[in-house]
Symmetry: C2
Subunit: 448 residues, 2 copies
């Protein structure tokens, strides 16, 4: 409505690029197409871009959801050729070149699918109920509630067996997210909540990290796995490698043949791609990812591109990892390719992945980082982790705020965002237990 | 468990003070009892103290929930005589002197009820569904979702009548919360979201403030009501006084005999006390408040005290207002009274309310304030409002962060926490509408 008739008309005659998903890959592609002679439509089922690498800090009460999200609309508001739609994509008609949203459709000339990945329960979808994953703000908030309510419930519980269960936290999967979660939960239990309870001692909480592979961070070099494990053990995490989970139910898990009762179980053991492959009716790899061509397009669908965690992209026999830098690079590449094609320029060379390294943090002041064969660990790696994440928070306008939250969290035994927004009666609380009365004291004393 | 056996034993022989509700009054009472020779139990159905005066800023996406809440447990952690319980109180047995929580009980020697108030729909409880109030973090989050989703849905809507409904926001009740909400919604629509949409113009949104009384802020002096109305009109709010609401349904309201269709309706028209009076089986005033004695105790129950919004306290013929300073003063008073009684000292003089004035803000940079007959309005009142709220955020550790959020919000057309955490398919979104295609353009042109 702000556009003049001329602009609107010249816009609508341009080729349409539809981008599904406003994660790292999709948003970067949209930004790079801001000045291209195309009209862009970005569709996401939420209204925000999420800085997923810090999601575990929302789940463990250090950061607020608003600090790691940015409204997609706001990020792209200055791009007059771009429209943002909050809607759920249900399929793609590659014949008619339309994206389906329920009974509505949007036509495309070029389609970029950047719909990410979700938890992979490897055929045990029923485990999701007991062991949620960490992919969305709602996931993080639910985990925060579960975590904090476990301590509240333990404070009220009279059965010591049940207290033990409530204070047992299991993280399944020792990839970067798993070790970050395990480290952060141990810090919350052993440091943050210390001396805030009267009936329980939060530092007695058990945090158990289960990993099927022989070591934590299986995709990192062995030396860094070793450092990471040391840091976890120092924080009080029980690390169990070579331990497969064979069952998860409301009482806990069976892991390596042993039953472990626990009220809180988190799943970070694997991801599978969103259903883009089935939308397109094309080949997917074992993790559900669309196998892409060297230019990130889909075989026999040269106008459809798949990027980020949704794509299976193998270069020189090595898969491009499911990391933010890879998605960003792929988003840039596809935007450039489409711009060239629309402008009648020659196609770019096949996509190349520039490995910016990988890192994971383990609690306050410790991390491991791998960069071009260089292995770093301890405080140096942690400072690097901090710097990289702050740099990548560009466009969030929250960078300074997040930095201050971190400073506060790391200087004072962090307290941050310990917010439970379900009420007591809706949670898992039952049976209050209070300071023992004088009579109860006497009864116990005489019984002893 | 941290206490030595001696301490625990000496603690449990002390008189028990049970405080229900960790709002301004309850928390203040607990803090004042921290060094008294009593054992204190604070029961709240949430785990956090909420800084309610800023709740409207969470509802309108300026602040994060974590920035206006503090874990009760954390606030009171250093008081070794105090236990915090997250549980839902269901009644009081004044004969046995027990607080009931489902089938559990907690004995008390002294009881302080500080359970606050909730929305009063004046017999039309069915309106709650369509016109939520603003009392909890969940309320604020729900309103934020509703507000932001209305714009998202309007962007996708093709029926102009429905677009109009989606972009009509009604606030019922022009007390401080009502004018703060109306002003903030107008700012979001007319400034923050400006130029972020392609099909709709958010600045065309209507914000309608309905008030039954002849003027906004009916309890303020007439001159300030006038200033407040001017400020609201300047922000683009339609102010309708002398307008009673006779019906609220899914389509909108009937107000002053006129039907106004609107998808978003907020209720700030009145409060009624929590059910403390019925727990105690005592007299309540029309708003459900317990009528208290000059020492804030309940008639014939000298060990039970009611404070804050739950109490009807009339001094020299004037009711003590339902404001945070009043609750804080009552909390201090009762704590002092109980301490004296336990220590065998004479009872204090009857409760006296020190009027610290009242204020309300209307959008960015404008407010009205009343202090000891002094009437302030405009930027001066707003700066005063800002200063007072920052001072009262003590104990939140978030003061600096909140100040920075405000600074950012007020310097750059505020964007803050525009987070919708329900997915598109769960929200009210339907029917996508996109930039018109070339053919549609031509069709329209030839039809014209």
């Amino acid at each position: 409505m702000k556009q003049t008739q001329e602009t609107a008309s010249s816009l609508s005659s341009r080729p349409r690029v539809v981008i599904v998903g406003a994660g790292f890959g999709g948003l970067r592609a949209a930004q790079k197409l801001g000045n291209a002679p195309v009209q862009v439509t970005v569709i996401d089922r939420t209204n925000h871009h999420l800085f997923q690498p810090l999601l575990y800090q929302v789940a463990t009460a250090t950061l607020s959801p608003g600090e790691i999200t940015a409204p997609v609309r706001h990020v792209l508001k200055r791009q007059r050729n771009t429209q943002v739609i909050m809607a759920e994509v249900t399929g793609v008609d590659t014949q008619k070149k339309q994206v389906l949203m329920g009974d509505q459709t949007i036509p495309y000339d070029y389609l970029i699918l950047a719909t990410g990945a979700r938890e992979n329960y490897f055929g045990h979808e029923e485990w999701r109920k007991y062991a949620p994953g960490l992919k969305t703000i709602e996931d993080a908030r639910a985990i925060r509630h579960k975590l904090l309510l476990a301590f509240e419930a333990a404070e009220l519980e009279t059965d010591p067996e049940r207290v033990r269960e409530l204070l047992t936290f299991i993280v399944v999967g020792a990839g970067p997210t798993g070790i970050e979660m395990a480290g952060a939960i141990a810090e919350v239990a052993h440091k943050v909540l210390k001396s805030e309870f009267r009936n329980i001692d939060p530092s007695m909480a058990r945090v158990i990290l289960l990993e099927m592979a022989p070591r934590v961070l299986p995709v990192f070099p062995e030396a860094l796995s070793h450092k990471a494990k040391q840091a976890l053990v120092k924080l009080g995490v029980e690390v169990r490698t070579n331990t497969a989970v064979s069952l998860i139910d409301e009482n806990g898990v069976i892991a390596g043949g042993e039953r472990i009762n626990a009220s809180t179980i988190l799943w970070t053991a694997g991801v599978k791609a969103s259903p883009a492959a089935s939308w397109l009716g094309v080949e997917a790899d074992r993790a559900g990812r669309v196998v892409v061509e060297p230019d990130l397009s889909v075989k026999d669908l040269p106008d459809v591109f798949v990027i980020g965690d949704t794509a299976s992209c193998v270069l020189d026999g090595k898969p491009v990892p499911g990391l933010a830098p890879a998605a960003l690079q792929q988003g840039s590449y596809v935007a450039d390719l489409i711009t060239r094609r629309v402008e009648g320029k020659p196609a770019p060379a096949p996509f190349k992945y520039f490995d910016k390294g990988s890192m994971a943090t383990i609690g306050r002041g410790s991390a491991v980082a791998l960069f071009k064969g260089l292995k770093l660990s301890g405080p140096v790696a942690w400072l690097m982790w901090l710097a990289v994440h702050l740099v990548y928070l560009i466009g969030f306008a929250n960078r300074l705020l997040v930095m201050m939250q971190w400073a506060r969290a790391y200087l004072s035994s962090r307290r941050g965002v310990r917010l439970i927004t379900v009420f007591a009666q809706d949670g898992l609380l039952k049976g209050p237990k209070i300071l023992p009365s004088e009579q109860e004291k006497e009864k116990k004393a005489s019984a002893a």
